[in-house]
């Protein structure tokens, strides 16, 4: 089965089935979970590291952690997909936190990501694809907490409370972060918007 034909959505009932099997280390169930979450973990990591190869490796490593922890996951009777997703991204959040702590201690590897640029030269970006790439790059250039809140809110469609659980912050703090992230992103993309409006 190719990735283009994979179903990337699942109902709560089917997810409950899947998780029960996954907790018994059923290969096909865990395989299916990987199919559901591989890209989502990848993009969650990519904005942090901005390196495709590293992001792919880290996404796989995080999923291995998920496998090791999944027997302890408590399957809820309701909102199974949302609760499991929140739990999984919490693992990813913690993994990346410790990953960077470890790298800082080792001080041997330079971070692949360049930290925030004030503005980006987007004057030539007129095609949709280029504009999308610019948007991804701009989001990745935000401070990590800010791009994390945007990913979880707009692509994972999590509520403020769910994002707060993943990031270990209050709901109010998530709203503040969300505001700052959008405001910062707007400053970065401002030249692009001006170009497009002309």
């Amino acid at each position: 089965m190719t990735r283009s034909t994979l179903k990337t959505t699942i109902s709560d009932e089917d997810m409950a089935h899947l998780l029960q099997r996954a907790q018994r280390y059923d290969l096909s169930a865990l395989d299916r979970l990987y199919e559901l979450y591989a890209d989502r973990l990848y993009r969650y990591v990519w904005y942090r590291v901005r390196d495709a190869d590293l992001a792919e490796d880290l996404a796989a490593e995080i999923f291995v952690q998920v496998i090791q922890s999944v027997p302890a996951f408590r399957i809820s009777a309701r909102d199974t997909v949302a609760i499991f997703s929140g739990w999984l991204f919490r693992i990813a959040h913690n993994y990346l936190y410790h990953f960077y702590r470890r790298r800082e201690r080792e001080e041997t590897v330079t971070l692949p990501a360049e930290r925030p640029a004030e503005t980006m030269d987007l004057t030539r970006l007129v095609e949709d694809q280029e504009r999308e790439e610019a948007l991804h790059a701009a989001i990745a250039s935000l401070p990590e907490a800010q791009h994390e809140v945007l990913i979880l809110r707009f692509w994972e469609r999590m509520s403020h409370a769910e994002v707060g659980k993943v990031m270990g912050r209050s709901e109010g703090a998530v709203k503040v972060l969300q505001h700052r992230a959008l405001a910062a992103l707007r400053r970065i993309l401002a030249p692009c918007e001006a170009e497009a409006s002309q």
Binding site: Q20, D26, D31, S76, L135, K175
Partner: protein, 657 residues
């Protein structure tokens, strides 16, 4: 003025649920200037295609993950204890495995192990139950003492459970295989007996004695300690489950309760007990490869006391016993082999349609289809109805868990909203949905049709309805669950078609509630955990479910309406041995309750499902017909089955008895 973060947060919630930027700005005109660019940017992000990893990276990651799964499975297998102390000792002393670790002081190690082994052996003998082969050894010193003291005759001594408490029948369910566990008798009966605590000796100093009675007994003034079922092995011995819940007076099951199953719809709760029959050779007998070996009775830890005040009422009367489940007859065996599906026809042609339920008369089908994420509560679906032949498909509402009223005229469902989920009712012929109650988890009509049952934070509530479907009374708690389970509003539950019992639970704890009209509901905790699939027979006298018990593992279980005699019909490994690893996804009974269809699902596609017909004795036969059936649902008249294939609903005619 409100903080911009708060307003922005609300606007983004609305935006992600389908509102436009303009709608959001119109709601907060005072902050529109600041909000507009941020909301425009947010809308742009939400519409941007998210990043995906390369195909090579995806496959590389999959290989890495599969290696980790293999390692995790190996570690789990290695961590599993050996099957017995002897094997553990042999493994420990194995020279092949431990040769490199041997030290000059190995003899000390061996002596220590020998001493430990002797101690363990003595311990095993001294704690052996009466039906253990080791028991004669254990009783030797006791007999010797009795002989020295001049006690006449040999005395069998049942090991009492020492307690300082007065003898009360605190229920400790004991799980005992009561049938020889061979491949010829795959169903493993689980006997749950009531164990009466007793002091080691009676006031008169006489010894306790065994009994061979088949019914658990307890006499208040007796010191007899009885463990029936562990002594004799009646074919389908069953008894009572665990504790009884006595709710507080404020939440009693009032005699004036509107939940009064009508006589026409409520068959008697008494059982029609068929005598156990000799099992004919099945067409295909599940090989109980993973059936546990018989072992001494193991007492399940006492269940937690519910969070409501227990009644001071003495509970010295024996808890009720339940008759065994009817066993299959030879005639039904032929029903298995002749059942097949023919003349398949596709009813829906949508992106993804999910069958929900048949109308009580079998003329309509309720189904749901996904709706755009921006359309509202992401948990809700579009609820549609169609005729049995797929004609006249029309949307009724948007929500979850639609169910028909018993007369088939209305549909109840829950739907999300700003104030949380609420129960709504809409006529089947279409019309404006009516909101009935709020703060509800799941809902179902009571079999009489004039009452709606729904789950809340307090437990299962009931409210009477007018014929038009509007409220006719005040909601009352019928089964209080607060303190018994976490988040009672989310428990899964299912009321028997006759209304006399309900099964409910969450996670690893499940109960059966007896709901006799005018009586306090009594709860019995099941010794088995339910998985996702379960189904009542149409008459409500039996309940099949996919489940797991600590002693017997996962599989298909069958029990009586009031929780009597959960029996393991087949283990999950039996299906796995047929080449598909997975789990039971759907169960559906024949209208007469003689057989049920079991779908074993791989989790990947309908092509990977195995579908069997089973009878109550645990005989299984593959369902004949074309492949790729998923989520089968037998029609109330028994003539057709609805099923899923490739994300759509199909229908097939049932050929056979």
């Amino acid at each position: 003025m409100r903080q911009l973060e708060t307003t922005l947060g609300e606007c983004l919630d609305a935006l992600l649920q389908g509102a436009t930027v303009e709608q959001c700005l119109a709601r907060y005109p005072g902050q529109a200037d600041e909000l507009a660019p941020l909301l425009g940017l947010a809308a742009q992000i939400a519409q941007t295609r998210p990043l995906t990893m390369s195909q090579a990276g995806f496959e590389r990651g999959r290989s890495r993950v599969r290696a980790a799964i293999a390692q995790a499975r190996a570690e789990r297998a290695a961590a599993a204890p050996p099957h017995g102390p002897i094997r553990a000792l042999v493994a420990r002393l194995s020279p092949q495995e431990h040769q490199p670790e041997r030290s000059p002081t190995g003899w000390l190690d061996a002596a220590l192990l020998t001493a430990i082994g002797l101690a363990v052996t003595v311990l095993v003998i001294m704690t052996s139950p009466t039906n253990s082969p080791l028991y004669p050894l254990r009783s030797l010193p006791e007999k010797a003492v009795a002989w020295l003291l001049g006690t006449p005759g040999p005395v069998e001594i049942v090991r009492p459970i020492a307690t300082d408490h007065p003898p009360t029948p605190t229920a400790g369910p004991t799980v005992t295989p009561t049938e020889p566990l061979s491949s010829d008798t795959p169903p493993v009966s689980i006997t749950v007996v009531t164990v009466a605590t007793a002091t080691p000796t009676s006031p008169s100093g006489s010894t306790t004695s065994t009994t061979t009675g088949a019914t658990p007994t307890w006499t208040p003034n007796s010191t007899t300690h009885v463990i029936p079922g562990s002594v004799t092995s009646p074919p389908t011995q069953t008894a009572v489950l665990t504790h009884t819940l006595f709710p507080t007076p404020t939440t009693t099951y009032a005699p004036s309760a509107t939940i009064t199953p009508s006589p026409t719809r409520t068959p008697s709760l008494t059982w029609t007990v068929e005598p156990p029959t000799t099992t004919p050779v099945p067409a295909e007998t599940p090989v109980a490869t993973d059936t546990p070996s018989p072992r001494p009775t193991s007492t399940v830890p006492p269940t937690r006391t519910p969070g409501v005040s227990p009644s001071p009422r003495p509970t010295s009367t024996p808890l009720p016993t339940h008759p065994p489940l009817p066993t299959a007859t030879a005639a039904r065996s032929s029903a298995l082999s002749s059942l097949r599906l023919v003349d398949e026809v596709q009813l829906t042609r949508r992106e993804y349609a999910v069958f929900r339920t048949w109308s009580p008369d079998g003329t309509f089908i309720l189904f749901t289809v996904p709706r755009p994420p921006e359309a509202g509560d992401p948990n809700d679906r579009e609820i549609w109805v169609m005729s049995r032949d797929g004609a006249d498909q029309r949307q009724l509402a948007a929500g979850q868990s639609p169910t028909f009223s018993p007369d088939g005229q209305r549909v109840a469902y829950t739907a999300g909203g700003p104030a949380g989920r609420a129960v709504w009712i809409v006529p089947v012929v279409g019309g404006e949905p009516q909101r009935v109650v709020g703060e509800a988890g799941r809902q179902a009509f009571w079999p009489t049709g004039d009452t709606l049952l729904y789950s809340t934070v307090e437990g299962l509530k009931a409210v009477t309805l007018t014929p038009a479907g509007t409220l006719a009374g005040k909601p009352e708690v019928r089964v209080p669950l607060a303190g018994l389970v976490e988040e009672p509003q989310y428990v899964r539950w299912s009321v028997a078609p006759h209304g006399g019992a309900a099964v409910f639970g969450a996670g690893s704890r499940w109960w059966v509630a007896r709901l006799a009209p005018g009586e306090t509901p009594q709860l019995y905790e099941l010794p088995v955990r339910l998985d996702v699939s379960y189904a009542w027979t149409h008459d409500g006298t039996a309940f099949a479910f996919a489940g797991a018990a600590e002693s017997f593992g996962s599989g298909l279980y069958l029990m009586g309406a009031e929780g009597s005699g959960p029996r393991l019909l087949v283990t999950a490994n039996w299906f796995s041995s047929r080449g598909v690893s997975g789990m039971i996804k759907s169960l559906t009974w024949a209208p007469d309750g003689s057989v049920l269809v079991v779908e074993w699902w791989s989790g990947r596609s309908s092509e990977d499902s195995l579908v069997y017909v089973a009878d109550r004795a645990g005989r299984f036969q593959p369902l004949d017909g074309l492949g790729a059936h998923e989520n089968l649902h037998w029609s109330p008249d028994g003539q057709v089955m609805a099923f899923h294939r490739n994300g759509n609903i199909w229908l097939a005619h049932v050929e056979g008895p």
